[in-house]
Amino acid sequence: MHPLAQANTQPLPVPEVDWRAIAPELALAVAGVVLLLVVAFRPRAGRGVLAGLTLVGLAVAAALTVWNWDLERVAFEGAVSLDGITRYARAILLAVGVLATLMVAQGEAREGEPDDSLPEVYPLLLFALLGMVLLAAASDLLVVFIALEILSLSLYVLAGQTRRLAAQEAAMKYFLLGAFSSAFLLYGIALSYGATGTTNLLGIARASVDPTGDGTLLLAGIGLMAVGFCFKVSAVPFHMWTPDVYQGTPTPVAAFMAAATKVAGFAVFLRVFSGALGGLVVSWRPAVAAVAVVTMLLGAGLAVVQTDLKRMLAYSSISHAGYLLIGVAAAATVPAAVSASMFYLLVYAFMVMGAFMVVQYVSRLGPPDDDAVRERSSLDDYRGLARRHPWAAGLLAVFMLALTGIPPLSGFWAKYYVFLSGIEAGLTWLVVVAVISSVISAFFYLRVLVVAYLQEPAGAAEAEAAPARAPALGLALGLAGALTVVIGLAPEALISAARTAERILG
């Protein structure tokens, strides 16, 4: 019998509700709704109150994640699985959420400028996180789609929340391209449902190795799903939106997108491709490897010619997606690649958020200006930063060197672990390409340090302007910097934790 017909004869299973399994997601959802109500009924509520409530919501979700730490099970008839990837991604995402809340709370306005960000940022941030955490746990393609839409819709609005023209343009671009990619993903899901008769990943895993199944249809479905995922993690050739969006959106949102979207996107990428489709690895590995090569090289190559720091970070995030794709390509046959990728995501999230925090810090300097289309992340603004703001410049140096992968900072161990798993999977040539890309990337990361440390300050006026006080941002910077250094010196505990993510459930 054709699998489709077979699927239709089965009664729709009614899943048993497993509250504990999705407790952190529920906490995020409740916190988001509460904040929406606060914003609606107390529109004058202070920024500190909203940020505080958001942090409370995140803390509850984190506590529930810890409570669930040792739970390993498949819930809701296989729609959600609790395994290493889920809990590790939850931990990273909640930490990223805390840092992003601190950044948002600080805002980008200079001393004496009105703050034009909307109070709805906080609930939207929580909903986006809800989508991401759910995406990392999803083991049914329909849940994957729903989670992806929750996070995407929240991010579209977050990206365009200020009245700056660039932000609106970025949001529109992101929305249009994102809608396309969602359609691709949905089409892919439909095709693989047609081929296998199920949207459950465990079922697909079983059907994919069944010789009587429709292999071509499934492959087409895999290809379309890959397009959707590649868009989310900004892999070439689906990266076009990344530089424009990162440059245009407010810096806290860009930081959140750069860190959190990657974590969620790669978590689901790993689960679907190395977990469910692991049996078909010979079919999709060459394609993923090819995408990894162009992503690494194009991202690094184009980053070299950027003159805007946010744009450069966008291209650098593309090339980091390429390194992570090595992990995806290797993960189907080498379990260590899953933990390597998860560890990379953890480390990368803090490095890249830290870099964006420095951008935010610098863009808050100087006298107020009313020009609504201003760009404040040009590399020229960083001239002589070391003399004007030694601490900010020092942290910038830490993040740039960590992103380059200089030991003993955290980025080095992450890169090392991914390279190691790549070689174990027999993808040595891919690792050599990654090394070449790393050398290219040293050019542009160093260029930031050249500007900040080796060039004289541009204008005397700005050099004299007192730095605006930024307690929340300072705290976030301190946390990100300390994590980057401490993980670099003592990576053992977090690597061991990542090792427990190797067994993918469902």
Binding site: A386, P408, F412, W413, L420, S438, F443, V450, Y453, L454
Partner: protein
């Protein structure tokens, strides 16, 4: 414990400097000098406790660091690394004393010098391949900032070129390290970066060639072996003088040390396979860089090229694969560090006095600064390997080793000795002898007390080690012999 203290004393000093208030630069200088002297005192104690005649590693320490990756903190010294540790700990306090009058951000500068010292000592004492790699790359960061932030007019170009060039080599070595680790794990089932374990498991000759090539990339660029030297003249010339002293005196030894400690014992077949290539590159480098040095107008650039030329002798000695060559190579590393340090110190002192380094701006300096001229003469003669001075012992032994291995290379390299005498003595003649033509040179002050304190230990070491090389050589010998055996071991 002693070795660990020697290694991290400078780093602790750098952290203490960060705590010193910005206004109190005198205190920062004292802290820096004290930290480097503590490290020196510990290194001397280390040398006193060192058992002469032992080939293996001594005075070591090991602890788990990242067991998930098989990475551990494992350090120790043998006859090859001990002299280099001493060299580092001697040159760093001198470099700090040389930077005493520095006006531009002295706190940052001294802290970076101390970080550089820890990173370089770390390379010499690491017995875990991964730890070695980490120190190897960690050298880059302070060196980058020292050149790029405090150097001459083209400092940014020089610093970026140096960084990217060296990083490229280092990353290729990292791929080699990972591959080696993985092969070892497959062969024995134990994930470890332990040096002895990696040396002792069997590697196929074909694999060894690939891995040797990966390590070669890092070491040849760092040394530098011709034609990978193009970053060096820029970096040495643009760096502030006291940084150049450490770059030329110590950092240039890291590459050769890497060959000696890692590339040869780990991949004996690969090394045998690459021997003709390395010997050829060494000889070409000796001759080419000597010729280029002859026509330089900037004294600092001249010394930079002379450094590359002399390093060719060390590579020649190491790749002779016999006791004379290896022993001579290690001795020459120390000799070269002392001599090149002295040359760059004098170049810096002249630049401080005159604001220029162009050879034609000087002339007849012997009449105004006779003491400086005398010191310079000793150092120059040490560099051109006058018998009785330190350079001679190293050059003689490396050439002897090369002669025993392959006469053609030795004969060609000997021409380099003559060229070395030509460019250094000619430069000496133009700068220090002859009539005193320029007014600006007429009332230059002679050596100050501080400058004496810097140069006297170097001159003393150049003479004493030249006359009595025995104490160094007898400590180097067993360890060098061990490397020779390891290299010959699996050759067909």
């Amino acid at each position: 414990m002693l070795l660990t203290a020697t290694l991290f004393a400078p780093l602790v000093g750098a952290l203490l400097i960060a705590l010193v208030p910005k206004s109190d630069q005198g205190l920062a200088r004292l802290v820096a000098l004290a930290a480097s002297l503590v490290s020196l005192a510990l290194a001397v104690t280390l040398a006193a406790r060192f058992q002469t005649g032992e080939a293996g590693f001594q005075l070591g320490q090991s602890a788990e660091w990242v067991p998930a990756f098989g990475v551990s903190y494992r350090v120790g010294v043998d006859g090859v690394s001990l002299p280099l540790v001493l060299l580092t700990t001697v040159l760093t306090p001198l470099a700090i004393a040389g930077s005493w009058r520095m006006a531009d951000r002295p706190r940052t500068y001294l802290a970076l010098l101390l970080v550089l010292e820890t990173a370089m000592i770390g390379v010499f004492v690491s017995l875990d391949l991964f730890l070695f790699y980490i120190f190897w790359e960690a050298v880059l960061v302070p060196a980058y900032f020292l050149i790029g932030s405090f150097g001459g007019p083209r400092r940014v170009y020089a610093a970026v070129k140096f960084f990217v060039y060296t990083l490229a080599g280092g990353l290729l070595m990292l791929v080699g390290i990972i591959a080696l680790f993985w092969l070892q794990q497959k062969a024995t089932g134990v994930p470890t970066f332990d040096y002895e374990a990696l040396v002792n498991f069997d590697k196929a000759p074909e694999t060894q060639r690939w891995l040797f090539a990966a390590f070669f990339a890092a070491f040849a660029i760092k040394t530098p072996v011709w034609p990978f030297h193009t970053w060096l003249p820029d970096a040495y010339t643009e760096a502030p003088t006291t940084t150049t002293v450490l770059l030329a005196g110590v950092m240039s030894k890291l590459g050769v040390y890497g060959f000696l400690r890692f590339a040869l014992p780990l991949f004996p077949d690969g090394a045998q396979w690459a021997q003709p290539l390395l010997l050829t590159l060494a000889v070409v480098g000796i001759l080419y860089c000597a010729l280029v040095a002859t026509v330089q107008r900037d004294f600092k650039t001249l010394v930079a090229y002379s450094s590359v030329s002399h390093l060719g002798f060390i590579v020649l000695g190491v790749f002779a694969f016999n006791l004379q060559g290896l022993q001579g190579g290690v001795f020459y590393m120390v000799a070269h560090g002392l001599v090149i340090g002295g040359l760059f110190f004098i170049a810096g002192m002249l630049e401080e006095r005159r604001g220029t380094r162009r050879i034609e701006e000087f002339g007849g300096l012997q009449q105004t600064v006779p003491r400086m001229a005398a010191v310079m003469l000793v150092i120059t003669l040490g560099s051109v390997a006058l018998p009785g001075l330190v350079g001679f012992v190293g050059e003689f032994l490396t050439l002897l080793g090369a002669f025993l291995a392959n006469r053609v290379y030795a004969v060609l390299a000997t021409i380099g000795v003559i060229l070395g005498a030509v460019y250094l003595l000619w430069a000496y003649q133009r700068m220090w002898h002859g009539p005193l033509e320029r007014e600006e040179n007429r009332d230059l002050p002679d050596l100050t007390g501080r400058e004496w304190a810097i140069l006297a230990p170097l001159v003393a070491a150049i003479i004493v080690l030249g006359l009595f090389p025995r104490p160094v050589l007898e400590r180097v010998e067993p360890s060098a012999q061990r490397v020779v055996e390891q290299t010959q071991a699996s050759s067909p």
